[in-house]
Symmetry: D3
Subunit: 160 residues, 6 copies
């Protein structure tokens, strides 16, 4: 049976850090479902269809990778998909704490689902999407942090 | 003279993590005053009377434990009560920093008042009230994180 | 050629922690430009001219120290001033992470500009401007954290 | 093709924390090879055959789990076994740093091999084998930290 | 009934950081027993009687403070003394982890005994006895870190 | 007057992480003295003359960089050289703590000397000399971590 894992997130927007991680996950699991949280609690910069579109562009050609959106609890979504592995990236200390809290809360809510952590490339280990947005809003060249098709709409969106 | 300690917080709402800590404090000190901050800077989900009521329900039968609310600086409140010990729970790293900053700021403002830190049960060490609220808002069963009489109003409040 | 460094920040308002750090920087570099970020992303308590005025009062008599404001990316500002050193203070863990992320993002955007970190006096190592503001809003005596000419307007501003 | 992962370590001796992690790994991967490092740089308490024996006893009946020892670099061992996934447990901050350093060093040495991190049960999140050994040496009852067949030889070994 | 707490440690040798903490503990508890671990696992610089003598000199005149040594598990010692509170100082991150691990291990071994953490003065928050010893061995003036009656024997001991 | 800084360390042996940092320091200061601690408390792998020779080879052609060894306290050495700036690299959390403790201890011993922290390239941010040595001892190709003229003697030394 093919081994499937879900990589949930807000992806608002997708960065090279996310893309690096999806690539690593695809080497480990047969199928990777990148799952965009529709009901993300912070007001997103991009709509769910926009984020789905960007992710599909970013993962085009990656074997075994699909992109979907979901509503509600990620553990309920995982159960619906009959998947028992969640993937998360670990970057720095504060990440680690938040990710641990979330993973342990999820484990309490669904003991049959396991969270595995992957390490992004050290080139993206310190990337913060908040800092990318701040830099972009001030006119910085962010082409080394996000793909071309993300940079343009991101700058337009931040200009408004 | 009975030894008294104040456990200040927003308790918005009380969780099993808080209740665990109050129980530990009550084993160490003769009297424990659980003190609800009325002027909590973040907009609370529950009113001060609602939070007081929940805490009273949660600590019913605990020997030496009383529940009050206070206005203004916690160190001024402690002085009014002639108490020189504040209690705080320590969970993870970010807690540790914030708690240290607050305790050192309080010590600078009132050198006669000492903050002591207690460790919650490891079952609650990773509990985050923010994550509990997010999970509850998405319809999760949070009965293992908060008492029944908190779960119901919490879900109602978040639904609004 | 005199060695110059830029110490950028929001300084909203300046605290004894900042002043301590400026003094240390002035012992190391010939010239120190304290640079107030005009387009600081969080809504500031004080206007840019108010923050400039307070910083000028706070650094009066410090040899080699000037105060300016800047707009846009700090690395663009540094290039305009032909300065290749940024100064930042390091206090605790969360600082460290955020500062590292920002410094590495800046390095990616401008490889010729280096960030150096200085350590404030341990008397200010745990100072949090958020906690100072909270304490001030509740009427605390904050004269040991900020100069007289900051304390008065800060309390007035927070009262509004 | 069955998906295989290697869980390397010194396992000197195996604890309930390790066993918990092996169980979680076995739910995610088809085959899990628990790999005892023979050339562990710290002088081990138990010989490699002793550690292998304990691990075999501890994992008896776990589907897909085998126990082996290896010599030299773990990445060379993984290549010999044609496995591209290493498993490590993440507990606390210091772990996180050391594990990250090791995983990034391994990635530099073998870019085709990925390290995935699993989270032990919070009941074992704070377990330190050093503290277990210290407690055992002082005569503590460590039956909640290690299996019976480990506790007895561990106490005997430490008594010598 | 007077409230008693035990402050266990190796105290090899006592520093102003320890003395500061003992003073704070004595303000909170009626009786504080400073307990020197005889079977400290690292080879101590000073013998148990030497460490006891220095601590007695350092705490002379502190109301309610006594100094003792103990053998074996600290929780067994606490039970013998009918004390259910252990005191530990918290300084920085690594401390925090180690202290938490130890406190949770102790809690598992003796659920009736609680560890409370106190915060040393920020003037001692970064003091490391290892660094003090290294500095002393190289001839530094360490009179601001340890009392006179510790500095002299410490330098003599390190010279050997 | 040319601005001089001292970069002290054990450099046992020098790695690309150190070399990266020396290059950054040389862009900020007119003169950088790389200072090899002769009385390093851990038993070094290489003798002081060996470490000096490797550092000289590694920094050949770097403008303003000299290499020396020193005995005793680094602050005494700095005073002898009439230098008031020490340079240290900051990598991860544990570094941060140790570096802070050392810098604050040094500041207490010599208030006129300031420590500045530089950030290595993210490519070296996770490099641990302990892990490099372990990998080298097991026969790994460490040519991306240390220069050729270090790799060869390092492997020979570890083989013994």
């Amino acid at each position: 049976m093919p081994k499937t894992a879900i990589y949930p997130g807000s992806f608002d927007p997708v960065t090279y850090g996310h893309i690096d991680l999806i690539g690593r996950a695809a080497k480990i699991f047969d199928k990777v479902i990148v799952a965009v949280a529709h009901n993300y609690h912070k007001k997103p910069l991009f709509t769910t269809p926009e984020r789905l579109k960007m992710l599909k562009d970013a993962t085009r050609g990656m074997k075994g990778v699909t992109v979907e959106s979901f509503d509600g609890l990620v553990i309920e979504y995982a159960r619906t998909k009959k998947v028992n592995v969640l993937i998360r990236g670990l970057r720095m200390i504060s990440d680690f704490e938040y990710e641990f809290q979330m993973a342990l809360t999820n484990r309490r809510l669904a003991n049959d689902i396991e969270t595995v952590f992957l390490m992004p490339s050290e080139n993206y280990a310190f990337l913060s999407s908040t800092l990318i947005k701040e830099a972009a809003a001030l006119g910085a060249d962010i082409s080394q942090f996000v793909p071309k098709f993300v940079e343009k709409p991101l700058k337009e969106r931040l200009r408004r």
